[in-house]
Symmetry: C2
Subunit: 138 residues, 2 copies
DNA sequence: ATCCAGAATTGGATCTTGTCCAAAACCGAA
DNA sequence: TTCGGTTTTGGACAAGATCCAATTCTGGAT
């Protein structure tokens, strides 16, 4: 966690109590939260933090490349603090939970030119879908 | 298009003017629309159709497996009438446009057991991201 | 051709997610 | 300690989507 905060200070971030708390909540988990979940967790540590600040801070972390924004279906976006390591996601179709996975194989190469339709391709995402342990046994 | 309508009638669907129009709008395109775009197109053909009906109909088509719901980032969901053929998506990060692609290679196999964390996996999605021809030259 | 029960449609209210703004509070360099 | 510029706040707002009771309509039965 201090890793992240140090990187941010080096980039000129002011270290406010609010930002520290958001960083602390995000730290190192492999199951990702929505902005409102992060807000709820942050409130436990700092009761007066506002929703807008959590959204602002998450947005800045995404811009800086420290956190990834992951969205599934019409649900709320989730924030993945594990932006530095290549990985894929496992999504529960019932409750929306997202987990990181680190598959062995290389994700397929890029698209053949005949399938690009003039697009400039910058990346590939691979998402596995299914039911998490909690929802699967219902 | 009548293919789709016939399959639906076989499953006990009542064929209303509204449903016919939604099916007609969805028919066979490889660039996918949002619900509101579909509503706008439907209004051209049937001025009094309501937004709720378009949402209802799309939801039913998704439940029946005739249409896929595709969502990207915080944007509106898009509807992919091409549910019966395996394919992947090409998404424009600037304007949200989605196109189908039909890559040659098999999408990677399923996840190794050690990476499943108790999930029951039902599918894999592969999405290429980039800029479409219109947005890329800006 | 007509009737009728149940299914579908309507449109407005409502919910959720997320963004925006001006005022107030705060951080940290000097 | 002071001060300027950065952050935070919270309430208003916007977009996407869902819900609901009242109304309309479909299609099988007659």
């Amino acid at each position: 966690m201090s890793d992240l905060l140090e990187r941010l200070r080096d980039r000129g971030w002011r270290l406010t109590a609010q930002r520290r708390v958001v960083a602390q909540v995000l730290d190192g988990d492999h199951v990702h939260y929505t902005a409102d979940e992060i807000h709820a967790l942050a409130v436990n540590l700092l009761p007066e933090i506002s929703r807008a600040t959590v959204y602002n801070t998450l947005g800045e972390l995404v811009s800086l490349g420290e956190v990834l924004e992951v969205s599934t279906d019409g649900r709320a976006k989730r924030y993945d603090p594990n932006a530095r390591h290549a990985h894929q996601h496992l999504v529960c179709d019932a409750c929306g939970t997202i987990r990181d996975v680190h598959p062995a194989g290389d994700p397929l190469g890029s698209l053949p030119a005949t399938e690009r339709y003039g697009f400039t391709i910058s990346g590939v995402e691979v998402t596995y879908r299914g039911l998490c342990p909690d929802c699967g046994t219902a």
